[in-house]
């Protein structure tokens, strides 16, 4: 397996988390919209498998050209539980829980980046 650049992986994950956050926001805003299916982004592991070849290379301008969804697939998730007559499948509590997960992962992500960045600068300063 090719060596993975830590900072690139962290950037990719934070973009994925941002897209997930906006999917959660859409779900919560449309919790009472008839016919609205609850969306979620594809799992991060799938994203990694798809872009395994390109992760190792540095690509400064590449990601800027993509849309707000940054190339991740956002699609309706399978509804588990009762289907309401209005065909709306948003469960508010689940969305809030997902938002909590996003927050925790994001905090870990930025903390890791900060720590390794400071370690790298530590070495250079004498």
């Amino acid at each position: 397996m090719e060596p993975v650049n830590l900072f690139d992986l962290a950037t990719r994950q934070s973009q994925w988390l941002a897209v997930r956050q906006s999917a959660i926001a859409s779900n919560i805003a449309n919790a009472n919209t008839p016919g609205y299916p609850a969306n979620d982004v594809e799992p991060f592991e799938k994203v990694l498998d798809r872009t395994a070849v390109t992760l190792a290379a540095t690509q400064t301008g590449h990601l800027g050209a993509e849309t707000a969804n940054a190339g991740f697939n956002v699609k309706p998730e399978d509804p588990n539980g009762a289907i309401m007559p209005s065909k709306n499948t948003v469960v508010l509590e689940q969305e809030l829980m997902k938002a909590g997960e996003v927050r925790r992962s994001f905090e870990l992500n930025t903390a890791i980046v900060k720590a390794f960045h400071s370690m790298m600068t530590m070495v250079v300063k004498s």
């Binding site: 919560i28 805003a29 969305e95 938002a99």
Partner: protein, 138 residues
């Protein structure tokens, strides 16, 4: 527009929609006893609100907006109030088709959704802040 800013926009639209919903509920509650002013006249007819989602081109998020505010077509309940100015020949008055309990339940649902949207705004704002913080304290 990056995803976090899109999330802010979407959640803000959610706040707006739920506020409209609360407005409709409070109108219904305020007029729950508003009968007509002439004999046999129709009273206040309950208002209903429906939402629709719309994909915002710039951000790619699904905004929510009010589809329409229309009237509940169900029948008016009738009460016996011969002294009322809207009483017909037999003394029956048509009352608004507003069920207070239903309106209260709707109101607490709207509050819940409003709170949830507010949470999303707070969190999106915090995530943006955390990202910028990476650069601070060099």
């Amino acid at each position: 527009m990056d995803a976090l800013t899109a999330a802010l926009k979407v959640a803000a639209s959610g706040l707006g929609a739920q506020s409209e919903r609360l407005r409709v509920v409070s109108e219904n509650l305020a007029n729950a006893q508003s009968t007509g002013s002439t004999p046999g006249a129709d009273p206040y007819r309950r208002k209903t609100i429906t939402f629709q989602s719309e994909v915002d081109r710039a951000s790619g998020g699904s905004l929510v907006e009010v589809n329409s505010i229309s009237r509940d077509p169900s029948d008016f309940p009738i009460e016996f109030q011969p002294g009322n100015e809207a009483a017909d020949a037999k003394g029956y008055v048509k009352m608004p088709n507003v069920n207070t309990l239903v309106e209260m339940a709707d109101m607490s649902e709207a509050n819940r959704s409003y709170e949830a949207n507010l949470q999303v705004i707070k969190q999106a704002r915090d995530l943006i802040s955390m990202t910028i913080d990476l650069m601070r304290n060099q």
